[in-house]
Amino acid sequence: MGELHFPWLESSILIPLLGAIWIRFFAHPENSLRQAVAFCALTFALTVGELIDFVTLGTFEAHDHWAFINWLFDQEVFVVDELSAFLLPLGALIHLVVVMSTLRTKAPRFSLTSTLVSEAILLATFSCRASWTLVALMAAATVPVYIELERRSRCTRIYALHMFAFVILLVLGWASLQFTDSSSEAVLIPGALLTAAALIRSGIAPLHLWMTDLFEKATFGTAILFVTPLTGAYAVMRFVLPIAPSWALQSIAILSLTTAVYGGAMSLVQKEARRMFCFLFLSQASLVLVGLELVTPIGLTGALCVWLSVGMSLTGFGITLRSIEARISRISLADFHGLNRQMPTLAGFFLLTGLASIGFPFTVGFVGMELLIEGAVEVYPLVGTMVVIAAAFCGITVMLAYFRIFTGRSNATLIPMHARLSERIAVMVLSVLIIGGGLVPQPGVASRYHAANELSEQRQQNPMTIDVEEADEVVDHSDDANETIESIHQEREYHSNESNSDSFILTPPGHIETPQP
């Protein structure tokens, strides 16, 4: 395992925790927002440092230099690998832009302490490999939101019910996995429990009610921070992917696909912006799960790319809605508001992030979506078609929301509503990343492809995750598990050659290559 040149991971977790303590006990309320931004910015810088250091190391996984926690517990607790290396800056960025775009008038309602604690938990989650620590962190992440709902005197039943089920299933699943031989069929039971937990956390229909309820009752900022880092997808990647057989994953992919189409369609009929955002997010986040569960390198690469794009673009979309909400209260989509003249920057950014989230050309989501659809078509052509339909629904929703909020009437307000400096900076940072990632996608795709390959290889190490039919055919010829896997590789190679030759046969006689002048 490689070693980073600085304790980036532990520092990035520690800084927001220290920030939370500082703001809770020492900061003057008037300066707390500015100081929270500073802590978030420092954390983001540390995670970017981690990413650069990790990329230059050229290793699959690495741990901190002078890792205090590792020394204390004598085991690797915080480790960054290719799968999580990009997620850490993404998580820190999401927190930074949400805190930056918080209006000072809203600061008392939006708990900065709780946000910084949540950030620390999120970064620890993304730095932690599958173990009891990760289970504990995922459970802990649900607490600050619950506390906020309680403090706002909102009904917590729906949220608590779903999160309780999530935590219980996660704990039971992980506990039973410890006592199960990973190569036996009994692993399906913990696998099913962990899958159910991940599906609840991801809000896969019909287990998505907690998400719409959260957007109704929590502050918009908290709701964005809780859902946009896609912790549910992370749970799928860490807990479910390494042990679930392909047929089970493809079944889950169908569920996710249904959610994607359902979310897209539901977002079209919503009359209020938060709910529209929630369903739009649900649709796009489900597409990430669809890609993850296809378990083909292209599908996985697409999912990992869409993950980053959804994280960035829908956070941007969300903070724009939040900024508008902070000025005019809840946004009805039944009316036209005509805010374009008052907030042109936010209008442009709203359109940019909305289009990026649906994979519009030359934005960060485009190539990811193309890869995802390509991967989906490889497995089931119908799945690819449904992904396209879900994206079409979301596209119509984005423009509908844009037209309703920013156009349709002349709105002369008495108060200035333009974007503040901190909002502009947040918007510009995300815009640069969204457009930059869209114009130069190759480095990101190559890195995500490498990560997807590693994920596939992890699955190959477990005989249970290899297709039963293929395994049955090969087991007859070999006893050793390694030999089995090797033989399956050979079989797959043979099949892929066979399919290539099939496609060659389909070409009609007299086939001539692309014409040249």
């Binding site: 079209l268 009316d335 920057t345 050309p361 119509i396 423009m399 002349s410």
Partner: protein
């Protein structure tokens, strides 16, 4: 690479890069909140059109002199995963189809730019218009020259978005915005069909290159390398895509609505340019029709239906722009019939001629009305109208039906709203109410606070 090829590469790159650079400059100035002044914008636009048009004419001249029929401009792979043969190849092709179309696009966009420079002088949305214009121009050039179906899709999407935004240009009124939304919705659905077709082509031929689909010969002599069933499947999807983009039957409803935009854009972009993009797509994949007779019949039927309904509708409209829009539809329908019958060159000439003629008509329309009024004032009465001989042979009941059909714009929007949109909305509103009931039941209270949310008084104007 010899000197001729280098010159071709340089000129081809200029044609594609020039609109992209314009888009980048105007986009960056909008994003940074520092809009350029009117004269800078118009100069940049003129320069961009010229730097696209002149190299395109140069390429045409060189092709004619050298007898070259096919000039590919390769920009390499934008994204590639070599292990899985996934590549997003940026390839542009200059051939007998794309060169006339790209020159047409440059000329008409140049006319729009020149006209708008004065038409929107001192308008608040001047910079916004030219940003959308740049996107439209880039999309048209990219679509025209695309050598792979993925590249065509990129241009296609840009044309779609800019069209919707241009239709909704007068954004302080509801009607243009609703029209923009309608255009976007139709475009998205046709784009979905296009994307599925693109993926299917990729799947069937292993590459998105048009050369993979039309494996032998260069346009229009290609032969599709697919089976009749595959051709029918892909062709049907592409037909849906083309119908959406070209406002063919039954998607014609967006075309008159698109006339909500500023006169130069709505007139030329929709009446003369983007309305031909679907026909251009059908021309590009026309070798598919040789493989499947069913597909050919479908294309011809769609063309006939569109032309007939367009003719009926254009005759009874009382708005000159709408009437001309439907007249465009009639011509596009005829063009589609020509494509279906295999007269590719005729269709191409028809597109170029019709686009130029319609542009002149649309630009002349407002002054023509004034001329009519002047003449009527001079005469002191209405200008005499003549009744054609064919009209005398048509039964009255049929005439009335045709009038109702034409006046009601073929009831296409009503049909789409009633049979597709309304059931869709109804189903998902039902799901929404079930969700509400479930969350209310779990919460033991009304769970949806957003229903009661009122807007802040400062943003009043909410209808109650």
């Amino acid at each position: 690479m010899n000197t001729t090829e280098i010159v071709f590469q340089l000129l081809g790159t200029a044609v594609v890069a020039s609109p992209a650079i314009l888009l980048a400059i105007l986009g960056l100035s909008a994003l940074s909140g520092r809009p350029l002044n009117e004269s800078s914008i118009s100069r940049l636009t003129q320069a961009s059109v010229l730097f696209s048009l002149i190299p395109a004419i140069g390429i045409l001249a060189m092709m004619l002199v050298l007898g070259t029929r096919y000039v590919p401009i390769e920009w390499g792979d934008w994204v590639t995963i070599p292990q899985h043969d996934f590549h997003f190849h940026l390839k542009f092709v200059f051939d007998r189809l794309s060169v006339p179309f790209v020159i047409l696009s440059c000329v008409l966009c140049g006319v729009v730019g020149s006209f708008t420079r004065r038409y929107l002088h001192r308008e608040a949305g001047y910079a916004r218009f030219f940003l959308y214009y740049a996107m439209f121009f880039t999309g048209m050039v990219t679509s025209s020259l695309a050598g792979t179906i993925e590249t065509l899709f990129v241009g296609w999407e840009m044309v779609g978005l800019s069209s919707a935004l241009l239709v909704a240009y007068f954004d302080e009124r509801e009607t243009p915005v609703r029209s923009g939304q309608r255009v976007w919705s139709i475009y998205r659905l046709s784009d979905a069909a296009f994307l599925i077709a693109a993926l299917s082509i990729h799947h069937m031929t292993g590459q998105g290159d048009f050369g993979g689909l039309m494996s032998s010969g260069i346009w229009p002599d290609g032969t599709a390398a697919v089976t009749p069933q595959q051709a029918l499947f892909v062709g049907t999807l592409l037909l849906v895509a083309a119908a959406g983009k070209s406002a063919l039957f039954p998607f014609s409803g967006w075309l008159p609505r698109a006339m909500e935009g500023p006169t130069p854009s709505s007139a030329i972009f929709y009446g003369a340019l983007s309305v031909h993009l679907g026909a251009y797509l059908l021309l590009r994949v026309s070798p598919l029709f040789d493989v499947s007779m069913t597909l050919r019949v479908m294309v011809i039927t769609l063309g006939v239906l569109s032309a007939a309904s367009g003719a009926l509708m254009s005759r009874v409209q009382h708005d000159v722009k709408v009437s001309l829009a439907y007249a465009s539809l009639t011509q596009v329908g005829i063009i589609v019939v020509e494509i279906g019958l295999g007269f590719q060159y005729l269709a191409l000439i028809h597109i170029v001629g019709h686009a130029c003629m319609r542009t002149m008509q649309l630009l002349r329309a407002p002054t023509l009305l004034r001329d009519y009024q002047t003449m009527e004032n001079a005469l002191g009465s209405r200008l005499p109208t003549s009744r054609s001989r064919i009209d005398q042979w048509i039964p009255v009941w049929l005439e009335r039906w045709c009038y109702r059909f034409g006046f009601g714009r073929g009831f296409m929007d009503t049909a789409l709203d009633q049979w597709i949109v309304a059931p869709f909305v109804s189903i998902f509103q039902r799901f929404d109410s079930w969700e509400r009931a479930t969350t209310d039941w779990i919460s033991h209270e009304e769970s949806r606070e957003s229903d009661k949310a009122e807007l802040h008084p400062e943003s009043t104007g909410r209808k109650t």
